[in-house]
Symmetry: C2
Subunit: 340 residues, 2 copies
């Protein structure tokens, strides 16, 4: 089969890879309908995360089940399924508490390489969720978004306790931040402040439910949020970047007793304990347990209640994966879908 | 009146201070029944927190209302009242959300000097809570504990979401840690692990409801907690120390999706963002909004359902305040009550 392999920073090749097969009786093999490039794929592309050897890439996937192991009960060949970046048993105590991305048996999907024609999915029963029928093509991008960026933005909004009566601010206007706006809206937030200085993204944020746009960053951005909230700060702030500046911006923009939901993968962040102590905020986040939300998200997409697929502003054939990396690296695209 | 004043590290003198009087129409003046020395009073005593000038000391107080300003409605002369270390209006949006220690009009009580015969309490209506009648003397230590250490331990347990079915671990065996054990028990926790290597404190922890004692610290302490919780970590961990080591011990002892409630005043703490991200814990804490809990705590004490006053293991007359500081500094006492 064809699949994307990264050889070195800036060097992604789509080449012949061995077809995946059932290894464990709990595995499934799926034929991908679409996959995509993640912001986190850019770290090795940019040389920030070290690369030990040529590595299959990709961890976002939707597709048709081709084959299942003997112990798989919940999905069957022919079904259209969505999974996420951690395979999970969905039965351990941690999964049952809703933290499938910390499942005691979790398997990181990245090394299996979802930017490919086929993918082995471990722990299929606990990982994959099927749609009622094979969906029409126009819904594929939205289901693919559910695999990571929608689930992650949704977790950010849930971790920030977005809900009725709440003012929610979102730091970060990438795909995850934009979908955190969508999530806050779905969760019933009263007011949603998107922090963005990028016109096209501001427009999509408004379409997804943002009531206010704040273009300022850092201390100025915090001051604007305070102005908009009677001097108190937002009830809920979603952090969807992962830098020191964005984390402190999120904490400072939250009122005492409010909630910060952080889903930007932390890079070089050090939180000052004393400042955090006196901020009185709640802090929660981490790798999104997307599996917790998949049944609800798939239902919303199936019934066309949400359209998260709009975050894909460039679609390329799998064979042009490298162009997709380049477009995201150069910020010409927010999120690149790869047609398989 | 007599009152304690710190002149320099290690130099606390009880001397004549001006009698407090009503300044604002929302003030009350109380005659103290008892006061005490706080762990945080030791920072200037030890020269860790700088001292600009001779400073009245103390922020924990119970007593009889002597006089109230024209606008005070909720308390009246002759009532026995308990307040906490921040005066609060208890009506602003932050107070109504339960964060009175971040009240938009809060007044820090420390500089007013509660280690004295009398005390001015600003925002009396929002700050003071009266008991049904003047209590018998044997209940005074417990009501005094409610003013800070009980309210703080209780907030730690609430922030850590201690409750039925939960395993709660408490890092720190000072008065706050011990009372967090009591709080976890009252909140219905199934299992309570006190981390202590001090025999007398271990005994009081068990009396307050601890089901397990872990004497190990740091990585060994975390390993013991994991052993006791099927490898997962505790659901809830209260951090009642405030150092880098204790914060990391608390975070590492908490299972993914679990809650850390931190009430040890952070000194020199820096939280590594990446580690926090992958820990999947909830983090909440800060200066305890004791006022939120006072009505419930006073009721429990009045009805002799809890006995938090046992944390006072030394009682001295106010005039010997300096001996009290010395006893706590040298760890000869957990918590020193000063009789007024």
């Amino acid at each position: 089969m064809r699949g994307a392999v990264m050889y070195a920073p800036g060097d992604v090749r789509v080449e012949e890879r061995q077809d995946p097969r059932i290894v464990e009786p709990t595995d499934a093999v799926i034929r991908l309908s679409a996959t995509c490039v993640c912001g986190s794929d850019l770290w090795p592309w940019r040389g920030i995360d070290p690369l030990q050897e040529p590595s299959p890439m990709g961890h976002e996937y939707v597709g048709i089940v081709e084959e299942v192991g003997d112990q798989v009960r919940n999905v069957r060949p022919g079904q259209f399924v969505v999974g996420s970046f951690f395979a999970s048993d969905n039965t351990c105590e941690i999964c049952r508490a809703g933290y499938q991305s910390s499942c005691v048996h979790r398997v990181l999907m990245g090394p299996l390489g979802a930017q490919a024609e086929r993918l082995r999915v471990p722990l299929a029963d606990g990982t994959l969720v099927a749609t009622p029928e094979v969906p029409p093509d126009d819904l594929i991008p939205s289901f693919l978004a559910a695999s990571d960026v929608l689930g992650t933005g949704w977790f950010g909004a849930v971790a920030a306790e977005a809900g009725p009566g709440k003012t929610v601010a979102v730091v970060g206007d990438g795909a995850v931040g934009l979908l955190a706006v969508l999530a806050a809206k779905q969760l019933g937030a009263e007011r949603i402040i998107a922090m963005s200085r990028h016109e096209a993204r501001q427009r999509l944020a408004v379409e997804y439910g943002a009531t206010d746009i704040v273009a300022e960053r850092g201390a100025e951005g915090v001051a604007r949020i305070k102005e908009l909230t009677g001097g108190l700060g937002a009830h809920s702030v979603v952090e969807a970047v992962g830098t020191q500046e964005s984390m402190m911006q999120a904490i400072h923009a939250t009122r005492p007793g409010g909630h910060v939901g952080y889903v930007g993968v932390a890079h070089g962040v050090e939180l000052p304990g004393e400042e955090l102590f006196y901020s009185h905020v709640h802090l929660h986040g981490g790798p999104a347990p997307v599996r917790r939300f998949l049944p609800e998200l798939l239902d919303l997409i199936w019934n066309r209640r949400i359209d998260p697929g709009k975050v894909f502003d460039l679609a390329l054939p799998l064979d042009q994966a490298a162009d997709g990396y380049r477009a995201m690296d150069e910020r010409r695209a927010t999120k690149v879908l790869l047609r398989v």
